[in-house]
Symmetry: C2
Subunit: 367 residues, 2 copies
């Protein structure tokens, strides 16, 4: 069952997200982009590249003028300007000009870096995304955020830049580890919590099918996730207001990620952060105890962590203070007053964040 | 006599270019940008910084929350990602967030780099330009081109990104060397040649006033130059068609610049390139011999070079082949059929370029 979604800017379609089972239709999608006279460069990393490069390169070679492959070493530690410089050099050597195009093949790291390189090489060339992780499929497919880490700071350097196509093959999810797949579910569940009550309960009801990689369920949750993000982003391209809602669970999640970097996946940190944000929403009197419990239960159903005992509360609090979500010295915290409805709260104090952190560190899940 | 120009995107004003004699009105322009709660960072280089930093910093301190200064070593050789990284690090140390702003104080190198840093730090923060060279005032004030050199290639890495204000003080031109000032006139004359016959003859008639830095004449030529570029750019933001006309003289000029880098200023290379492009236009039967002579004469009136004997024709031809103006293997050469009217010609052969290069190398100005 194939699904498609159009992403707009200023009421014009700027690209489509195509959700398929496999790569059978990639060729026809590429041909729509008139690639026959263009050079293409697959950008991928060692892990994903080993699985898919051969198949994708073959498809690209059937459509494009010439196809190259740039492979970097897998891992967030390589999401930096050194890798970007290697890629610039590679493109210069292959005489890539403004009409040529990059193809991001991999997870979030690959997509973010390829997009950033496309945004800045010759002041911008085209790129398409073939996201192979659930996280990248539901998070990076929409929004145009590209970037690299700098000096230990995540995504400190980047640009807003849109792809020309996002091609998702749900079969790729089967080559992820179960843990990676479930980590992506953290972001999927987030969309339900912040915007879509019905979707939240769909995820509860269909957990078995999803966890068994049933194609129809996967296509559906990817489509709904991308569509929810699309609606939020289209109403707020440069993250002035509405878009901040997507940061639900991320204020605490990012801070946790910073200190448990090697141990926890992004979606897992977000899951703990969402548990904290749910508690904070309850603690401030916005959210019922029952709804808070339903959120914790759904995260747990997808085997996601909702507590983490190794957090140093003081360090996380300090890290929150240097977060990008700070604006003019004020924290923008995303809270919920019911499942499916979130809003920005600028009144959250450090001591309220501290309580939420103690909640998630101390395993006081019975509260 | 103060002048102002509004620059648009999608029919909305995105910023203004303000042309003044000095910095007296900078404060009121800054206040319009609501800077009282924002941190500002002046980005400048050693030469310009030594002259203006103190005065500008004082003005900024009267308006903004906090003002910092980042100074890099003057020179195109420092227009690279190393300087950008130093600037990122400086901004991180000073806790710059998305609401804070950069102030580019200097010539083209400073403007291009500051703009690029603003485009990519935290995926984009605001910046304003205070261009102090004629070249930067008439060329970089409009068009949103930012970037750095990479691996010996000019502006290989960059982004399209718009400032929030361009503040030009014509008095700054008096602190340039005469040669730097006249180099900027190369770009000014270009606007006359490609788009505005009347302006071309204004430049001929008022050469003495301009060369004597008379304020009214300077304000006028800067305004007309920026306005011409504005009209071209607004009709073609991403350099698909019309905007290519601004490259008149630049195809050969850039190639010359690459080989005589240390010796010649940008506007001087463009001047030689324009002489070559005028010859080529004449040689192809588009332009009259008389008009070609008028162009050579005006460049000469402003003491700009129209020939250069040190060019290795073969090397320049090869360099042209890797120019960014190549698209899908074809060169886009800008030619003129009369003074004030230019167009894109995709039929120019390598041997026609070779003739033009021999013309400008062999000093055959009598042809």
């Amino acid at each position: 069952m194939s699904e498609r979604l159009a992403v707009h800017e200023n009421h014009n379609i700027i690209y489509e997200i195509v959700i398929e089972k496999d790569f059978e239709n990639l060729k026809s999608e590429l041909n729509k982009l008139k690639v026959s006279e263009r050079k293409l460069c697959i950008v991928t990393e060692t892990t994903v590249g080993a699985i898919y490069t051969r198949e994708i390169k073959k498809i690209l070679e059937e459509c494009a003028k010439e196809t190259f492959v740039f492979t970097f070493e897998a891992g967030e530690k390589n999401k930096n300007l050194y890798t970007i410089k290697d890629l610039y050099t590679f493109l210069i050597e292959k005489h890539f000009d403004r009409r040529d195009m990059l193809v991001a093949l991999g997870g979030g790291v690959t997509g973010d870096m390829t997009g950033y390189c496309a945004a800045t090489y010759l002041r911008g060339i085209d790129f398409i995304q073939i996201p192979t992780s659930l996280l990248a499929q539901v998070d990076s497919s929409v929004g145009g955020k590209t970037g690299v880490d700098f000096d230990g700071y995540k995504n400190m350097v980047g640009a807003f830049y849109q792809p020309k196509l996002v091609y998702i093959a749900t079969d790729t999810l089967k080559t992820l580890t179960k843990r990676e797949f479930l980590s992506g579910m953290g972001e999927v569940i987030k969309y339900g919590i912040i915007k879509d009550k019905e979707f939240f309960y769909y995820l509860k009801k269909h957990a078995d099918e999803i966890k068994n990689y049933e194609e129809q369920a996967l296509s559906y949750i990817i489509k709904v996730s991308c569509d929810t993000k699309r609606k939020v982003v289209e109403s707020d391209f440069k993250e002035q207001g509405e878009r901040a809602l997507l940061n639900f669970g991320h204020t605490l999640g990012h801070a946790i990620e910073k200190y448990l970097y090697m141990d926890m996946l992004h979606g897992e940190c977000v899951s703990v952060g969402m548990a904290g944000a749910a508690f904070l929403s309850y603690d401030k009197g916005y959210l019922s105890e029952h709804a808070k419990k339903e959120i914790i239960d759904l995260l747990t159903l997808y085997e996601l962590p909702v507590s983490e005992s190794r957090i140093y509360v003081e360090k996380v609090l300090a890290a929150t203070g240097s977060d990008k979500k700070m604006e003019g010295g004020k924290i923008k915290f995303i809270v919920i007053d019911e499942i499916g409805h979130s809003f920005i709260d600028k009144s959250v104090s450090l001591s309220e964040m501290e309580s939420a952190l103690y909640y998630i560190t101390e395993n006081r899940m019975e509260i």
